[in-house]
């Protein structure tokens, strides 16, 4: 298993290096300790847009927004700008059925939360991937 992990990491790294030169990508990351290895695009949408707060292994998911990267991330995820995303959440405030992800101000805050919480999901610039974080899904940004 460590061989496989290492190989995967190496592959990911290689892909990331290649893609960095081509375009800026955003990676959805999770604690290395999480049993979840992969996340589909739909699952990412459901979690971040508040439909289901569950990971594929049925554990509770805790999505985290990062202020500097937020606009790029939602554009890459659901092709919507921030006004639309804010309007979406504003509608749901009164029903209380769903709530927006936890808000953070810096990349360090995200890394801190993710490394200390196995169920936390964050997103980072794929070119600046911090260590000890597992990439579940890489979202390519439109040029």
């Amino acid at each position: 298993m460590p061989r496989f992990t290492r190989l995967a990491r190496a592959t990911t790294m290689a892909l990331l290096l290649i893609s960095t030169t081509a375009r800026a990508d955003i990676a959805i990351v999770i604690n290395e300790a999480s049993p979840v290895r992969q996340l589909s695009h739909s699952e990412a949408v459901n979690i971040f847009m508040g439909r289901y707060r569950r990971l594929p292994d049925n554990s509770v998911a805790l999505p985290i927004d990062q202020a500097p990267l937020k606009a790029r991330f939602y554009r890459a995820l659901v092709q919507k700008d921030m006004a639309e995303i804010n309007s979406y959440w504003a509608r749901l405030v009164f029903s209380g059925r769903a709530s927006p992800p936890q808000q953070t101000e810096t990349l360090d805050d995200v890394v801190d939360i993710v490394t200390h919480n196995a169920n936390a999901l964050g997103y980072v610039d794929a070119g600046l991937l911090p260590p000890h974080l597992r990439v579940l899904l890489t979202l390519s940004e439109s040029p």
Partner: protein, 543 residues
């Protein structure tokens, strides 16, 4: 209803308004029906568009509600849709068929719902709701059922409004037409009618045009009526003038007709009298006035002698001919009048006649005629009369060859001696007495005449038998042989020799008859005088 019909017949304005109302009403109903139909057809599309619009309005919210499975938000959406009256039912259904939100409008009237249930809901509109983030994923279906009843009621209301508007418009038009027609047409016409009634056209009065209508059709009508009145009045006065002239003419003719001496009459084609003037009545009817209504009088029955027969009077040819004339005797005896009648054709089946009393003229002519054939000394026929009589006898003999006219020729013995002895006056007296004797012996149709001097003849009736001739001759001889007494008291005696010849037996020509009688007379003289001899063919020409 009948009263209304009568009113319509007698009121132009009402009739015009009713006609226009009927036309506008029919057109209006046609338009209204067409509009309602078109409206109903387009209503479905309009509702469809409105529903689509409604869905588009709430689509984003519905997307989110479905995406999150947020029934509270879904309720908001459906309730919001139902707040629109055209929506009867709004449903949000998940992909697995379970309803996220389902609301029915409860505001609809329950009492109308029961009987119009099948018509109350229209065609449902269904729209798939996509995920707000992944447009290829369907999350829900939104179904809207329109409230057809409400829509219908809206349409009906619009239709009612249109109808009411139309009816009001019709009433307005009708009233306007009545007013306009009354003001511009009916009132001026009844005005003209009344004035026309009161107009005294004979005085040259003219019909005034109603004010404000001088130049329009009503004004022209008045002008035409005035022109007609002018024409009528002028032709009436012309007629009156002519009638007056005709009356005078007629009176003139009437006076002539009544007072003229000549009888004037008219006959129909059957020869019956149609009219007669007083002179005609005096001539033909004995002074009785002609009765037009009485039994028909044929002209021919009034004539005693000499007039035309009915056929002569009335045949087609006779009628076509010009004036024809007859002389006829009317009445008998002393009352007999002679009338000259001229008849001419007046027109088909009508003859006009003029009758003149010519009795005096005729009597005068007859007297002259008598004088011409009478011996002035003796009053019996003279030579001219004898010759005329011979011509008559000749004609009669040619017509009736079996007739026997006998001629006696007398010659007196020694008459010359009486003249010589007693004078001419005595001779004349003797001649007069001989004539008297001959007249006494003569029967009605015998004709005594003195041809001149002492030459006497006696033409006897053709019916006298030969045996009677001897008797006649004997009586003649005897009466002449008797002594004649002159004025002077002297008596004279005469002998007479008589020659007798008979037309038909002895001769067929009167000239021969005279010669034969003459010869027979000379024979009598030769054979002893104072005797008579018949013509004897055995002694024809003795000298």
């Amino acid at each position: 209803m009948i009263q209304l019909l009568g009113l319509l017949r007698s009121r132009l304005a009402l009739r015009a308004a009713a006609s226009i109302l009927a036309i506008v009403g029919v057109l209006g109903i046609v338009f209204l029906v067409a509009a309602v139909h078109l409206r109903a057809a387009s209503e479905k599309d309009i509702q469809q568009m409105r529903l689509e619009g409604l869905i588009s309005t709430v689509e984003r919210t519905a997307q989110i509600a479905c995406f999150l499975g947020d029934s509270q938000l879904a309720d908001e959406v459906t309730q919001g849709l139902l707040s629109n009256r055209i929506v009867k039912e709004a449903r949000l259904v998940r992909r697995d068929g379970s309803a996220l939100a389902d609301h029915t409008n409860t505001n609809t009237n329950t009492n109308t719902n029961t009987n119009t249930n099948e018509h109350s809901s229209g065609v449902a509109l269904t729209r798939t709701i996509k995920s707000p983030f992944e447009t290829d994923k369907t999350v829900c279906e939104l179904t809207l059922v329109p409230d057809q009843e409400w829509i219908d009621s809206m349409v009906n209301e619009a239709t009612r409004f249109l109808s009411v508007a139309l009816i009001l418009q019709l009433l307005g038009i009708g009233l306007s037409v009545i007013l306009v027609v009354f003001y511009f047409v009916t009132r001026p016409i009844s005005d003209i009618s009344q004035k026309l009634h009161a107009l005294e056209a004979e005085t040259g009065q003219k019909l005034p045009a109603p004010s404000g209508h001088g130049r329009d059709e009503i004004g022209k009508l008045v002008i035409s009526v005035n022109a007609m009145i002018d024409r009528l009045v002028s032709s009436l006065s012309e007629e009156r003038r002519q009638r007056l002239a005709r009356d005078i003419e007629q009176r003139r003719y009437r006076t002539l007709f009544d007072n003229v001496e000549a009888g004037i009459f008219e006959l129909d084609d059957q020869g019956h009298l149609l009219s007669a003037n007083p002179a005609f009545c005096r001539l033909f009817l004995g002074g009785k006035p002609f009765d037009r209504e009485g039994p028909p009088i044929a002209l021919t029955t009034l004539i005693h002698d000499g007039g035309p027969t009915m056929q002569e009077l009335t045949t087609r040819r006779a009628r076509r001919d010009g004036t024809r004339q007859w002389e006829m005797a009317v009445g008998e005896g002393d009352q007999q009048r002679w009338v000259n009648v001229m008849v001419s054709r007046l027109e088909e089946g009508r003859l006009q006649g003029v009758a003149h009393d010519i009795t005096e003229r005729r009597h005068a002519a007859e007297a002259a005629e008598r004088l011409a054939v009478t011996d002035p000394l003796t009053g019996i026929g003279n030579r001219l009369g004898f010759e005329r009589r011979l011509e008559l006898i000749q004609r009669h003999y040619r017509l009736h060859p079996d007739s026997r006219h006998a001629l006696m020729m007398l010659d007196f013995d020694h008459f010359k001696q009486i003249n010589d002895r007693h004078g001419h006056h005595a001779g004349d007296q003797v001649l007069e007495q001989i004539a008297g004797l001959m007249r006494d012996i003569s029967r009605q149709h015998d004709y005594p005449a003195r041809l001149g001097g002492d030459e006497f003849v006696l033409l006897l009736d053709h019916r006298t038998p030969r045996d009677d001739l001897d008797g006649m001759a004997q009586r003649l001889t005897d009466s002449i042989n008797a002594p004649l007494v002159l004025d002077s008291g002297q008596q004279v005696s005469l002998g007479v020799s008589i020659g007798i010849a008979v037309l038909g037996s002895d001769a067929s020509e009167v000239t021969t008859l005279v010669q034969l009688a003459d010869l027979a007379m000379y024979r009598a003289k030769r054979e002893g005088r104072n005797t008579w001899r018949f013509h004897d063919r055995h002694h024809p020409f003795e000298t």
